[in-house]
């Protein structure tokens, strides 16, 4: 048991240190965005560029739950689960939490446009900064069954076999700010983040000559400058969120680290 507590304290200290150091990574990103002026597509130079504009899409993909047309999406499915564990005193304790059971993402090339022109964007390895756009709740048990049957009847279209996806019929849209208190084990939440055509676009990436087409410039993740951020937020919002992320990393990293070290020291009988 003592060994387990040792391991926990070391994990706490390491995780704290990693979170703390991550704060510096966020800080450098924060500074880079702040220090890079906006370029216009018509006249952007090769190298790191910051573009503000909109998404222009030739083709689209659709999000898995809301079937929204987009050029990028990521999703996460969380399930309300019960956890049972036995403590050192032999007592059984139970806890419940929302656990991620599935996640994924998809991205396709698109164009960024501003008032001066458009440019091809290859989003491979881009760091997408997009907030949750839609959240759905799927209730477990009898209530959930009613939901599924009700939606099945509502969506029934004998001519369109493509919307026979039973898995998404019981999904109830919920607001991001809504806290649910009456959760039952087995309830599921579906989170969707995506960037639609015409959405606002903030882009920080490397402009280079397209090797597949002569006289064509594209934006991608550079070899020398690895920063490649794509977001539908404004620069101000993005910088604001990075600032809080940076402060949070320093504060929580330090707290975790101190807790880890203190547990270790108390185990050794030093404090």
């Amino acid at each position: 048991m003592v060994e387990t507590e040792y391991i926990i304290s070391i994990i706490f200290a390491i995780v704290g240190l990693v979170i703390f150091l991550y704060g510096f990574k966020v800080m450098s990103k924060y500074r880079l965005i702040n220090d890079t002026p906006r370029s216009k597509i018509r006249s952007m130079a090769m190298g790191l560029v910051e573009l503000h504009g909109n998404v222009l899409a030739d083709t689209c993909i659709t999000t898995p739950f809301s079937q929204t047309d987009c050029v990028y999406y990521s999703y996460e499915i969380k399930e309300y689960r019960k956890h049972t564990s036995k403590g050192s005193d032999g007592k059984t304790t139970t806890s419940k939490s929302w656990d991620t059971i599935s996640s994924g993402e998809k991205r396709i090339p698109f164009f960024a446009k501003d008032e001066t022109g458009s440019v091809h964007v290859n989003p491979i390895n881009a760091d997408f900064n997009v907030d949750d756009k839609k959240i759905f709740l799927q209730k477990a048990g009898l209530f959930g069954m009613f939901g599924i049957i009700g939606n099945a009847l509502k969506n029934w279209d004998s001519n369109n076999q493509s919307n026979l996806d039973i898995g998404t019929w019981g999904l109830i849209p919920v607001k991001k700010s809504n806290w649910s208190f009456n959760n039952r084990v087995g309830d599921r939440k579906y989170y969707e983040r995506y960037i639609e055509p015409d959405a606002n676009l903030f882009l920080l990436g490397t402009a280079a000559n397209n090797p597949q087409a002569s006289n064509d410039v594209f934006i991608h993740k550079g070899e020398n400058e690895p920063t490649f951020i794509i977001s539908d937020k404004s620069e101000k919002e993005l910088v604001g969120s990075l600032k809080w992320k940076m402060i949070g990393s320093f504060v929580f990293g330090a707290i975790f680290f101190i807790i880890g070290v203190m547990i270790s020291l108390s185990m050794m009988g030093i404090v």
């Binding site: 800080m27 220090d35 002026p37 018509r42 130079a45 108390s266």
Partner: protein
């Protein structure tokens, strides 16, 4: 908790704060260096276009010479502007040369209106369009250069950047100022 425990916590907190302060100073230093290089890079990016415009101008002059023999004043103005640009070294000199070039080009294109044969000349139109596109790009990059310079100039006067900037002997950079009359792009009248 024993006094040793409290001492250790205080020690760790001070150590972490020191790490943050040192990291912050390094990030300020890196930021200022980056801003300085941004200015140099954005100036080089304008320079490339100014040179490109001068090259296009040489070809343009060759194409109009036969048609505009009686417009020696305008042609001389363009040639002088081109020479002034080639001789310019500092940002201020190049900005002045750029202004003269823009106004000389305006005059040239305005006078070209009186020569229907020239107006119909394919290669003249091509050069004119190319120069006009380069002018637009120069205007954008001038804006970008001034943005970079302005950010740098503000930053080196702000606390805490001013302390590091003084250590690095960084001074304010010149903006690329353009005469009010030359703010408009070259008009294509054909």
């Amino acid at each position: 908790m024993s006094s040793i425990g409290i001492g250790i916590i205080i020690g760790i907190v001070i150590l972490l704060l020191l790490v943050i302060v040192v990291g912050y100073i390094i990030s300020i230093y890196n930021s200022l260096v980056r801003l300085k290089h941004n200015i140099d890079k954005s100036w080089s990016n304008i320079d490339v276009l100014l040179k490109q415009r001068t090259d296009e101008l040489t070809k343009l002059l060759a194409s109009v010479k036969g048609y505009m023999e009686h417009e020696k004043g305008v042609l001389l103005q363009v040639t002088q502007a081109r020479t002034a640009f080639l001789d310019a070294n500092s940002v201020k000199e190049k900005a002045a040369a750029d202004s003269s070039m823009t106004s000389a080009l305006k005059s040239l294109f305005a006078v070209a209106e009186n020569y229907p044969d020239l107006k119909a000349n394919e290669s003249f139109l091509q050069f004119q369009n190319r120069i006009s596109a380069i002018e637009d790009q120069i205007a954008d990059r001038r804006e970008f250069y001034n943005d970079s310079t302005n950010t740098f100039n503000i930053r080196i006067e702000q606390i805490p950047y001013v302390f590091i900037a003084n250590m690095l002997h960084y001074v304010k950079s010149e903006l690329f100022k353009v005469d009010e009359a030359d703010r408009k792009d070259v008009e294509i009248t054909f």
